[in-house]
Symmetry: C2
Subunit: 213 residues, 2 copies
């Protein structure tokens, strides 16, 4: 367990990708794989893979490679898929609804237990059998249910107030889609998602590769 | 122009973030800023900022700091916001619809010109005044319109065939939300988006910080 504490943020960022690829291998009934083969599939170097996976004590064996299922389960365990994190969505606009319908989260061990909005047109409607509640009911809901993570998909202007409320209610994880960066504090861990950033990186690469003489 | 070619992928990944923060400063009528002040706002070190921005010839002046508007425009130019990239969305499910409704892309210089799906319930409906077309019409559409980027929000199983079609039609940019990694080739630049990965990083940090004794 001591070793795990040393995992660097850069390695942590790559773990979900290992987890995905290993899951795909399992589906294909591939039971073991060398770092070289995995490297070809994932498009990263074999030495990077060995270095990353050594952080957890090294599951590979010389001449055998990695036991896919063992590694998959171990990385899943490190990532916390067995915690059955419970999350809510605040802001049931287009992005909130898209996220609510994203079944992949469940496969990763995340369970959606509530959706909140202030828009009277949306409150009371159902998304995947979950009735959208008015945000006024958030405090009551959090009092009665364990909520690990709140997804923020509110409009930009509402973000600070909602984020403050979330922290005040003791929710410890914040997944933020609201276009405004929120900072990690001692009370909460945050992941900010900026979809436009990814699109702009694509645009840059497109320009550099194909549009610039 | 020579200098720009040397921008590393790591720096490119940070540019959209600089662009956002500088845009926010402009909105607040802040006309100049030191790397130190910017560092506090952005939560990265001042030396990192200076190093990043020096890649483009360095816009800062000792004792003055950065001219916000100049830097904003320059980074925008580097990122290609003036190219008016035209994009289409293939797959008008929840994620496709959320992306179609994401107005931020337009602010960054990206214009949505077409939406495609195969589902008869969706084809013919309108999203932001754009009628969803059947994917069979894709080839004709690309023949008649300049399409820089295709957003893939198709179900997993359809992804390989649709991606192949896109490359065959000569579209050079692929923004992939389809849960299956696609690889960059000489014919196309790709950004793969895996929302679950970001959630799992959050889950890991949550676990490490609050749930593990």
């Amino acid at each position: 367990m001591e070793l795990r504490k040393k995992v660097s943020p850069a390695v942590v960022k790559r773990l979900p990708r290992y987890y995905r690829y290993l899951g795909d291998l399992l589906k294909m009934d591939i039971t073991r794989i060398s770092s070289k083969e995995l490297s070809v599939r994932m498009g990263i170097t074999a030495s990077q893979i060995r270095q990353d996976l050594n952080c957890f004590g090294g599951f590979g064996q010389q001449g055998y490679g990695y036991n896919v299922e063992l590694l998959y389960n171990e990385i899943g365990d490190i990532l916390g898929v067995n915690y059955r994190f419970k999350f809510i969505i605040i802001g049931a606009g287009n992005m909130g609804q898209a996220l609510a319908n994203y079944a992949n989260f469940e496969k990763r061990g995340y369970e959606l237990i509530g959706i909140f909005d202030v828009n009277p047109k949306v409150v009371g409607t159902k998304i995947r059998d979950i009735e959208v509640m008015h945000t006024d009911l958030l405090e009551k809901f959090v009092g009665e249910n364990r909520v690990d993570i709140a997804i923020l998909s509110t409009p930009y202007t509402q973000t600070p107030a909602v984020a403050e409320k979330i922290v005040e209610l003791g929710i410890k994880g914040l997944w933020n889609f609201s276009a405004m960066d929120l900072k990690l504090t001692k009370d909460v861990v945050v992941e900010n998602v900026h979809l436009s950033d990814s699109l702009m990186v694509l645009g840059y690469n497109l320009k550099e590769k194909f549009l610039t003489e």
